[in-house]
């Protein structure tokens, strides 16, 4: 049995400090929630009140009236899910092949692919946009999606993970007469599900968060993803805090719910995938 530790004074101070900090971190979200439930005269009240004197859903109704919420969700989810699927697939296959096979020019191909990781998106976004103009996919879903089929960081991350995967499994399957494709599909990929899961969370979160490419490539409201829709909404109704906090809540609420449900996986997915 471990002896019960009594809380020392210094520990009590540290606990208090961390909980105050956590409250400060949380405060903007609480403020968002309560503002979105306030009536205009209460939003502009001096001194401000934390809780709305009279709660109202009026702001939410206005948001649903002015913006096509289901379409925004559809556009955003399609962009985030297809990106996740494609990037995880291409990264896993490329990472596996780089880790376990030898072929001519392997190192050259690897270095060229991985070196694109060093170039920030903002450095080549204009030529990418000009390419989309030539392909006539501006303001279309395809134009939004095309740049997010591959990701150098994902490829590098999956190669690192596959290098730790023992060769004996592959050799055993070869002796059994399995084809290389079957080995990849039935043995290698299924064994790295947790790495792929981490990468999925990372890619999903970063695509969901993406504003700059949707801003460049889309012009019409029917093609907006949430980030762009919110940014435009904010520019149009600059002073109506009730409405734009409600709009922000509509985006934030499901994310927070997901995070609370799967917090450990999400935290390690976002941070550790980024540093491996």
């Amino acid at each position: 049995m471990k002896p019960l530790r009594t809380l020392r004074l210094s520990d009590a101070v540290w606990n208090l400090a961390l909980y105050i900090l956590a409250l400060v971190m949380l405060f903007p979200f609480l403020w968002l929630l309560t503002t979105s439930l306030k009536q205009p005269q209460h939003i502009m009240a001096v001194p401000p009140t934390i809780l709305p004197p009279v709660a109202t859903l009026r702001n939410y109704l206005e948001v649903f009236r002015k913006a096509n919420v289901p379409l925004l969700y559809f556009n955003t989810l399609r962009f985030a899910l297809v990106s996740t699927l494609c990037i995880v697939l291409t990264s896993s296959v490329a990472g596996y092949v780089f880790a376990k096979y030898r072929f001519p020019l392997k190192n050259v191909i690897f270095v060229i692919m991985i070196s694109t990781m060093m170039v920030p998106f903002q450095s080549y976004m204009i030529p990418l946009f000009l390419m989309m103009v030539k392909l006539r996919v501006v303001d279309r879903y395809l134009g939004l999606q095309l740049p997010y089929l591959v990701q150098a960081m994902g490829t590098f991350f999956m190669r690192q993970n596959f290098e730790a995967f023992p060769d004996v499994y592959l050799e055993a399957a070869r002796i059994e007469g399995a084809s290389e494709f079957a080995i990849m599909r039935r043995i290698s990929l299924p064994n790295l599900q947790s790495a792929m899961g981490g990468l999925s969370i990372f890619v999903f979160a970063s695509t969901w968060d993406n504003l700059i490419w949707p801003l460049i490539i889309t012009n019409t409201a029917k093609n907006y993803v949430w980030q762009l829709g919110l940014a435009v909404f904010k520019q149009q109704y600059t002073v109506d805090y009730g409405q734009f906090t409600a709009a922000a809540m509509v985006v934030v609420a499901p994310v927070i719910l997901f995070f609370v449900l799967f917090r450990t996986r999400i935290m390690s997915g976002i941070t550790l995938t980024g540093i491996k």
Binding site: P48, P120, F259
Partner: protein, 316 residues
């Protein structure tokens, strides 16, 4: 070395005289069949635009004007005396440096306290502190715009309680940079906290136990054991924070652009200036030169950070 089916195993001698079994050839064909389509995607979606960015930066290309000519390094030289570029460069440098210092310092302090003191409910605390990382930039920026509001914002109200006069935080050139920095620090603390936390947890407890037996205080063991062992993680966090700091766009775009997409911005950073120059004013040549400057700055800082770390390690 004799092994059953040894011919199948990749042999270390890569030479033209190496025996190629049918299986070996099959494996090469499989690998190429898998990698070439993916490489083609990289070639079209990454390598071509990157090469194009270099090429266009050497021209006077403008969207809407068909003819363009090769101007050498003129765009690069012109930018060095361009006020918008210089202001953006200065803002990006201050932004990256200040967010890096504040975010990493606060995150490291939190992670150290969590690991060294008897903290109740670490899981809950970490979840709350990490929350801003998962919530997207745009809705978070909207909340902070509301907090910073010059007339009804709660920040000005709180400051008025101690007698400060109200400020227009985001639309005043002297405060906009710091207002966006505070927002960014708030958003990123949780991310680096987890990175540091994982790093500290990887340090074997026996080291710290030994120090405790020798009578080292908590602070001494942090300084003498935890921080030196954490050095690779801190370096990594520094590189990541530098890259994040120089490539922020959304924060600046959402928080400091005026209503109705009015041109002009109280706070410009390199990424915003590239966007505006190339895709709002259509000066593609100049914008790409600026994009290449951004790339060179990032590469420079990353290499410098790794080099500095190596030199420090050599001292031991």
């Amino acid at each position: 070395m004799t092994r059953l089916g040894g011919g199948r195993l990749p042999s270390p001698d890569v030479g033209p005289e190496r025996m190629k079994s049918p299986l070996e050839q099959h494996k090469v064909r499989f690998a190429l069949a898998m990698i070439l389509p993916i490489f083609a995607l990289y070639a079209v979606l990454r390598i071509y635009p990157i090469v194009q960015a270099f090429y266009l930066s050497l021209t006077d290309y403008q969207i809407g004007i068909r003819k363009y000519s090769f101007v050498g390094l003129a765009n690069y030289i012109d930018l060095l005396s361009n006020l918008d570029f210089l202001v953006s460069l200065k803002n990006s440098l201050s932004f990256a440096a200040l967010t890096l210092v504040f975010t990493l310092f606060i995150a490291l302090m939190i992670a150290l306290v969590m690991s060294r003191a008897a903290i109740r409910g670490i899981g809950l605390l970490q979840t709350l502190i990490f929350l801003p990382v998962v919530v997207s930039v745009v809705p978070s920026a909207i909340i902070w715009n509301w907090i910073y509001d010059p007339q009804y914002g709660i920040l000005n109200y709180l400051l008025s309680l101690v007698g400060a006069s109200p400020m227009n935080w985001l639309f005043n050139k002297s405060t906009a940079l710091y207002a966006v920095i505070a927002f960014t620090v708030w958003r990123w603390i949780g991310y680096y906290m987890i990175i540091f936390w994982v790093g500290i947890r990887a340090i074997p407890e026996t080291y710290l136990e030994a120090a405790r037996i020798d009578g080292a205080s908590a602070w001494t063991s942090v300084r003498a054991i935890v921080l030196p062992l954490l050095r690779p993680i801190v370096l990594l966090a520094t590189v990541l924070a530098t890259i994040n700091g120089f490539t922020i766009f959304t924060e600046v775009y959402v928080m400091t652009t005026g209503s109705q997409s009015a041109p002009g911005n109280t706070l410009s950073v390199l990424t915003f200036d590239i966007y505006q120059r190339g895709l709002v004013f259509y000066k593609v040549g100049e914008a790409n030169a600026e994009a290449i400057y951004l790339f060179l700055i990032l590469i420079g800082f990353t290499l410098a950070q790794f080099a500095m770390n190596r030199r420090k390690q050599d001292l031991y």
